[in-house]
C-alpha cells in the first residue's frame, strides 16, 4: 500500500480557551479527492492549516508524506501545493513576476502547464496583482500552487470568487490533475454541489469535530429522509436511532425524520411499532449538509 499523503492523529487546536479542533484522526492517500464541508467557523481552515504545520497543534500531530508537518524537509515541501483562503500575492508584482519568484523556490516547475492553464483560465499575467479582480487573483494563486506539480494539493475555498463558468473550468482542471491517481487533493468549499461533482471523499466538520469522513457515495447512502405517515397520532418519542433532524406535522400523524446509518430492517421495525407507513428518500449532499446543521 502506498504511503499516506496526509496522516492526522488525534489533532486538536485551541486558541486560548477556545477549542477549535478536537480529536481529528484521518488519512489521505494518492488518488483521493477530499471535499471538506462545514459551516463558517466550523474549523475547516484551522484543520487545513494545522494539518500543513502553519501553527503547532494543541494535541496530536499531522504527518505529510511520513514527516511531521511542523518539521518537513525541503523534499516534502516541494511535493505540496497550497491555495490559502486569503491569497498572499504581492500586490505590486505582475502575475509573471509572481510566477517567476515562486518557481525559483522549486526544483521542478512545469512552465508549460502553467502557460496552458493561464490561457484556459484567462489570467492576465502581465497585470499587477493589485489590478486583478478577486476571481483572477484566486486563479493566479491556484497557478502558483500547481506549478510544482504537487503530489498533495490543498485548496481552501478555491472557487469562492469564481463565476460559474470559471468554476466549471477550474473543477475540470482539478479533476484532470487528480485523475491520474498519483495525487491527493483536499479542498474546502461552501458550494456543496461542486464538492459532490468532484470529491470522492467527504469530510464534514462540525464544531471542530470530524462528523463524517468517508466516501461521498457512502455518505449519500447512509443519510436518508424518512417521511412517516400514521393513522393514529404519533408518540412523543419515535424511537428511531441516529436522528439528525426531525419535524412533526401539525396534525400529529406525520413526521419527517432524517437519519444516518439506519438499516432498512430497523426502519421496518419502527414502521410496525408506530403503525405507520415510512417512505424513504435519498438526499443530495447539499440536503445532507443542511440536515446535519439543522
Amino acid at each position: 500500500m502506498s504511503q499516506a499523503a496526509v496522516s492526522i492523529d488525534n489533532l486538536g487546536k485551541s486558541f486560548g480557551k477556545h477549542e477549535v479542533l478536537r480529536g481529528i484522526s484521518t488519512e489521505v492517500r494518492a488518488g483521493d479527492v477530499v471535499g471538506v464541508i462545514g459551516k463558517n467557523g466550523a474549523g475547516k481552515t484551522t484543520l487545513l492549516e494545522a494539518m500543513l504545520g502553519f501553527s503547532p497543534p494543541s494535541s496530536g500531530h499531522a504527518r505529510i508524506f511520513g514527516e511531521d508537518s511542523l518539521a518537513m524537509s525541503a523534499a516534502v515541501k516541494a511535493r505540496i501545493g497550497f491555495v490559502p483562503q486569503q491569497d498572499e500575492l504581492l500586490p505590486t508584482l505582475t502575475g509573471e513576476r509572481q510566477l517567476a519568484l515562486t518557481a525559483s523556490f522549486y526544483p521542478r516547475w512545469d512552465r508549460e502547464l502553467i502557460k496552458r492553464l493561464a490561457q484556459e483560465w484567462e489570467v492576465p499575467l502581465q497585470r499587477r496583482a493589485s489590478a486583478l479582480s478577486g476571481g483572477e487573483r484566486q486563479k493566479l494563486s491556484t497557478l502558483l500552487a500547481l506549478g510544482n506539480r504537487p503530489d498533495l494539493l490543498v485548496l481552501d475555498e478555491p472557487v469562492a470568487a469564481l463565476d460559474p463558468l470559471a468554476r466549471r473550468k477550474f473543477l475540470q482542471a482539478l479533476l484532470d490533475i487528480a485523475v491520474d491517481r498519483e495525487r491527493a487533493v483536499i479542498f474546502s468549499s461552501h458550494i456543496v454541489s461542486d464538492l459532490e461533482r468532484v470529491a470522492n471523499r467527504i469530510w464534514v466538520v462540525k464544531d471542530g469535530r470530524m462528523l463524517w469522513d468517508g466516501e461521498t457515495d457512502n455518505l449519500k447512502q447512509s443519510v436518508r429522509r424518512l417521511h412517516i405517515q400514521a393513522r393514529e397520532p404519533l408518540p412523543a418519542e419515535l424511537g428511531l436511532a441516529n436522528v439528525l433532524s426531525a419535524r412533526r406535522g401539525t396534525d400529529g400523524r406525520t413526521a419527517t425524520v432524517t437519519v444516518r446509518d439506519l438499516a432498512d430492517a430497523d426502519i421496518d421495525t419502527a414502521a410496525t411499532r408506530l403503525g405507520a407507513h415510512i417512505e424513504r428518500e435519498g438526499l443530495g449532499l447539499e440536503d445532507i449538509f443542511l440536515e446535519i446543521h439543522a
Binding site: L89, L93, F105
Partner: protein, 486 residues
C-alpha cells in the same frame, strides 16, 4: 541561489515607482562613472551630485523599506511550504544589502580621486585620515543598511515600537547627545573603527539566526492596523461604540474609535484623550518637552550663528514645528479614508462630507500646531525681542504649510499623495532660509514665502475637492496581508 537572486530582483522592483527610479539612477551612475573614466571637464561636484542622486534613487525603496519588506515576506504563510523558504529569503536579503552597499561605494570611488586632484590643484594636501577608502565606504554602507533594516524589521513588529521609533527619530539629537555622554567619541581607543564596522554584520547575523530558529514571525503591525480599518470598519469593535457612531454619523467624525487613527491620535495627542482640548495640550506638551530636554536635561551650547541666533533649547524644538505638517497630512489622509465609510452609512453627499472632514482636519491640526506655537513663540520673543517680527513670520509660514498639508492629506487616494506631499515639503525647505528668524531677515522675502504657501492652499483645496467629487470610494485598497505568521 536562483531564489535568492529573484528575491533581490523583487526587492529592487517591489515598489512600482522604483522601476523607473532604477532606470534613472542607473543612467546617472553610468554617466558619473563614464565621465570619471574619460576624465571629462565636468567638475567633481557635478559628478558626485549625479552619482549620489543616482544612489539615492536606486536605494530609495530597498534601503528604507527593506526591513519592512523582510518582515512581510517572512510572515507570509506560504513561505512555510516553500523548500528552504526562509533561508533563501534571508540569503536574498543579505545579497540585497550587499548590492546596496556596493552601489553606495560607487560614488566614493568616483568622487575621491576628483577631490584629491581638485585639492592638489589648489596647492593643498588631502589629509590621509579624511580619505575614505572604497572598502571602508562599502563597509560603512553595509553597516548602515543592515542596521537600518534590522531596526525597521524590529519596529514594524508592534504599534508601540513604531510610535517609539517615530519619537526617537524626532529626538535623534537627544539620543546622539546621550550616547556621546555614555561613550565619548574621543575616548574610543585606536582601531575601534574596525570593531564598530563589525556591529552591522553581527546584528544582521543575529537577526538571520533568530529568523531561522523562530517558530513564527509576526506580520507587520502597521499593515495589521490598516487591514483592521478595511475589514472591521462597518462593524468595528464594540456594540456600544458602533451604535454611538451610527447615531452620530451625520454630524461627527469620531477619531478616537478607529484603529488607524487611534495610532496617530495616540502619537498626536500624546495624552491619549483624543479630545479637542487634548490636541492643543499635546502640541503645547511637545513644545514644552523639547524646551525642557534641550534646555535643562541636555543643554546645547548657545549658538551665535547668523540663522536664528539664540539658545538651542528654543531653536531646536521650534525647528520641529514644520514636522507637524507631515502629521497633518497623515491625519488628513486617515480621516479621508475614514470618511468613505461614513458616506456609505450616513447618506451624506460628497460635498458636505468633504466640508465636514475638512473642518475636523483643520481643527485638530490647527489646535496642535497652535498649542506648540503658543509655548515656543512667546518664549522666543521674551528671549530674543530683536527678532520678534521674523519669529512671527516663521510661525505664520509654518501655519500655512500645515494647512497646505491638510489638503494634501485630503486628496489622499493614490500615489499622488506622496508626490504632492514631497513637492510641498521640498518647496518649503527651499524657502526655509527666507523665513528663519534672524536679526537682518528680509521681511519682503519672508512675506513672499507666506503668501506663496497661503495662495497654494487654494489650488490644493480645489484639487482635494475635485478628487472627492470624482473618486472611486473603493480605489484605496490595501494589499492582502498575512493573517498568521509562517
Amino acid at each position: 541561489m536562483k531564489a535568492a537572486l529573484q528575491v533581490v530582483r523583487t526587492c529592487f522592483g517591489l515598489v512600482p515607482l522604483q522601476r523607473w527610479l532604477n532606470g534613472i539612477s542607473g543612467a546617472l551612475i553610468a554617466m558619473s562613472v563614464g565621465a570619471a573614466i574619460l576624465g571629462t571637464g565636468l567638475g567633481f561636484i557635478g559628478l558626485g551630485v549625479a552619482g549620489l542622486l543616482g544612489l539615492c534613487l536606486i536605494a530609495l525603496a530597498p534601503g528604507f523599506c527593506g526591513g519592512a519588506m523582510l518582515r512581510y515576506g517572512l510572515s507570509l504563510t506560504l513561505l512555510h511550504l516553500r523548500p528552504h523558504g526562509r533561508a533563501r529569503l534571508l540569503l536574498g536579503a543579505t545579497l540585497a544589502i550587499t548590492l546596496l552597499a556596493t552601489v553606495a561605494a560607487l560614488p566614493v570611488t568616483i568622487v575621491q580621486p576628483q577631490i584629491t586632484r581638485s585639492i592638489a590643484g589648489g596647492g593643498l594636501e588631502l589629509d590621509s585620515n579624511l580619505a575614505l577608502q572604497v572598502s571602508r565606504s562599502f563597509l560603512i554602507a553595509w553597516n548602515v543598511v543592515a542596521i537600518f533594516w534590522v531596526a525597521t524589521f524590529a519596529i514594524t513588529a508592534s504599534r508601540i515600537a513604531t510610535i517609539v521609533a517615530w519619537l526617537a527619530l524626532m529626538g535623534a539629537p537627544v539620543v546622539g547627545k546621550l550616547l556621546d555622554r555614555v561613550i565619548p567619541v574621543d575616548a574610543l581607543p585606536q582601531g575601534s573603527a574596525g570593531l564598530l564596522l563589525a556591529i552591522g554584520p553581527m546584528t544582521w547575523m543575529l537577526l538571520v539566526l533568530w529568523c531561522l530558529k523562530a517558530r513564527s514571525i509576526r506580520p507587520m503591525a502597521f499593515h495589521g492596523i490598516l487591514t483592521l480599518q478595511r475589514e472591521n470598519e462597518p462593524s468595528d469593535t464594540s456594540a456600544s461604540s458602533r451604535s454611538k457612531r451610527v447615531d452620530n454619523a451625520p454630524s461627527t467624525i469620531d477619531v478616537r474609535q478607529k484603529p488607524p487613527t487611534r495610532l496617530f491620535a495616540t502619537f498626536w495627542y500624546l495624552n491619549g484623550s483624543g479630545s479637542i482640548a487634548g490636541a492643543a495640550a499635546a502640541g503645547a506638551g511637545v513644545a514644552l518637552s523639547g524646551v525642557l530636554v534641550f534646555g535643562v536635561l541636555i543643554p546645547f551650547p548657545t549658538s551665535g550663528g547668523a540663522v536664528w541666533p539664540g539658545p538651542s533649547w528654543l531653536k531646536v524644538p521650534a525647528l520641529y514645528l514644520p514636522a507637524f505638517a507631515a502629521i497633518a497630512a497623515l491625519v488628513g489622509r486617515l480621516l479621508a479614508l475614514r470618511a468613505r465609510h461614513l458616506w456609505l452609512r450616513a447618506g451624506m453627499d460628497r460635498a458636505s462630507l468633504f466640508h465636514l472632514t475638512e473642518k475636523y482636519c483643520l481643527l485638530i491640526t490647527g489646535l496642535t500646531l497652535g498649542g506648540g506655537a503658543a509655548v515656543l513663540l512667546p518664549l522666543s520673543l521674551i528671549q530674543q525681542p530683536d527678532i520678534a517680527a521674523s519669529v512671527f513670520t516663521y510661525g505664520a509660514a509654518t501655519c500655512a504649510l500645515v494647512v497646505c498639508m491638510v489638503y494634501v492629506g485630503l486628496s489622499a487616494w493614490s500615489y499622488s499623495f506622496i508626490q504632492l506631499g514631497l513637492g510641498v515639503i521640498a518647496l518649503f525647505l527651499y524657502r526655509l532660509p527666507s523665513i528663519l528668524p534672524q536679526p537682518n531677515a528680509s521681511p519682503a522675502a519672508a512675506l513672499g514665502t507666506i503668501m506663496m504657501f497661503a495662495l497654494l492652499v487654494f489650488p490644493l483645496r480645489w484639487y482635494a475637492r475635485r478628487r472627492w467629487s470624482k473618486l472611486d470610494w473603493h480605489a484605496w485598497r490595501l494589499p492582502t496581508m498575512a493573517r498568521r505568521a509562517a
